[in-house]
């Protein structure tokens, strides 16, 4: 997955224009349930609910979802297997109850990951960060984060182009050459990032920038009804997860 891939999926997806509050409540609400409910069966319910919403309602492609999930799974496999063994005075052995602990961990981590991927595939990161303003994050920090989001794609494109150019001239054909070439890309990127920052300063000053970065938002508002329905569903999952 390249940097722009997930963002593109979120920006072009079917749920792009659904109210932010709805998506945030679904993703974050279930995420909280995923890590607080007993993994069995709570996390299983969360996983089922999230996958249903992600694939059934938001219509995220299963193939893309799997490609995104590959990275966290790469962590989860060694991270759960390690619980199977113990280090005792007599050396390495099977941990008693390790299998169960690992299984519960896998259930919880998977449930939480489905929530994260739901958010990532339905909501552009910029929308989520902009929403942090309402949670009291200082506007300067939010603005820096949003500008960073803009710069990330521009710089990533430049870095990719530089790497392509170096590969074309065989700059990555051995490990030593790779190291030198990558160092050169990074070194070339930093002054370019700073130059971009200065040009943006000129560009925004020309638009009457006074030091604050206010924009009008034209986003859909969530209805209390839909938020209530989401909360009700989450309450049901919570109750089921605790009782069963």
């Amino acid at each position: 997955m390249s940097i722009a891939s997930l963002d593109r999926i979120a920006s072009t997806g079917r749920w792009r224009n659904r109210p932010l509050a709805e998506k945030a409540l679904i993703g974050l609400g279930f995420l909280i349930l995923a890590v607080t409910l007993p993994p069995w069966p709570g996390a299983v319910f969360v996983t089922a609910a999230m996958l249903a919403v992600t694939f059934g309602l938001a219509r995220v492609s299963v193939k893309l979802w799997l490609a995104i999930a590959a990275l966290p799974l790469g962590f989860l496999i060694p991270g759960s297997l390690v619980l199977l063994v113990q280090l005792g005075p007599e050396g390495i052995g099977l941990a008693p109850g390790g299998a169960q602990e690992a299984a519960l961990l896998v259930l919880r981590a998977l449930a939480a990951t489905t929530c994260l991927i739901f958010l990532a595939t339905t909501t552009p990161a910029a929308d989520l960060v902009a929403g942090l303003r309402r949670f009291g994050l200082p506007s300067e920090i939010v603005e820096i984060a949003l500008l960073m989001y803009r710069f990330v794609f521009i710089l990533a494109e430049e870095a990719t182009a530089m790497t392509v150019a170096q590969r074309a001239r065989l700059g990555h054909s051995t490990r030593a050459r790779w190291l030198r070439s990558t160092g050169q890309v990074i070194a070339a990127l930093l002054p370019r990032a700073m130059a971009r920052a200065r040009r943006l300063e000129v560009g925004l000053a020309a638009r009457g920038w006074q030091g604050e970065m206010r924009v009008l938002s034209d986003r859909a508002r969530a209805s209390w009804l839909s938020l209530g329905a989401i909360l009700a569903a989450q309450a049901a999952v919570a109750i089921l997860g605790m009782l069963l």
Partner: protein, 222 residues
């Protein structure tokens, strides 16, 4: 090494948020002050953060054939200073979670502690120490980046061990287990990152100084 979403129990997730919060708040206050004095610092800080993000997305073909990535921790700390890096690092981690599903939201506090706080402070400390005792720039940069990197990995391993102590040997045993999976394997990568950072700092030293900025501004002279 980012701890994945949902890997830590809720109590640990909250605990690490609490540990990281003061560093983030201190950095945020500092940034507010900088931005109040120079509004345009927003752009520079954002570009720095974006640079750190893109850096972390560059893949390193590691010795074992699998791919890892530089953390950029050392480079960032040396150039921008550790307190600002705490904030930029947290934003970078947030974007990594949302744009790459790398790391997570519940584990953001823990990842921020290892990658945006411990790593930069260690790197910055070693850099200052190295320069202080008269080590050359290249060696100071190398050790700062390498040890900053290693400190990050070791912190991650300790965080995991704290969450999942070994049934027989407790925290120590778990630290060895997680260390052998998530930290010791990273030693060659830390060395690579050290070397890479030296190359970058070296190349940067030969780059355009600040007084060229207007030339770049004017576009034509680019």
């Amino acid at each position: 090494m980012h701890i994945m979403e949902g890997y830590l129990p809720a109590s640990h997730a909250i605990g690490w948020y609490a540990v990281s919060a003061p560093f983030f708040v201190a950095g945020a206050l500092k940034i507010r002050k900088i931005v109040a004095e120079r509004p345009e610092a927003r752009m520079t800080l954002a570009a720095s953060g974006a640079f750190a993000f893109v850096l972390s997305a560059l893949k390193i073909p590691s010795v074992t054939g699998s791919c890892s990535h530089p953390t950029g921790t050392g480079l960032g700390a040396i150039i921008f200073g550790p307190s600002v890096m705490a904030v930029l690092g947290v934003i970078v981690l947030l974007f990594q979670a949302l744009l790459l599903a790398h790391g997570g939201l519940t584990t953001l506090g823990a990842n921020a502690f290892s990658m945006a706080i411990v790593g930069p402070w260690v790197a910055w400390g070693i850099w200052k120490l190295g320069r202080g005792v008269g080590l050359s720039v290249a060696f100071s940069v190398f050790f700062a980046a390498m040890l900053g990197d290693l400190a990050t990995y070791v912190t991650t391993a300790l965080q995991l061990a704290l969450a999942y102590p070994d049934p027989a040997s407790g925290f120590i045993g778990a630290a060895v287990k997680f260390g052998s999976i998530f930290a010791f394997t990273q030693v060659p990568l830390a060395i690579v990152e050290g070397l890479l950072t030296v190359i970058v700092m070296d190349a940067l030293a030969g780059k355009v100084p600040d007084d060229q900025k207007l030339r770049i501004l004017a576009g034509e002279a680019r």
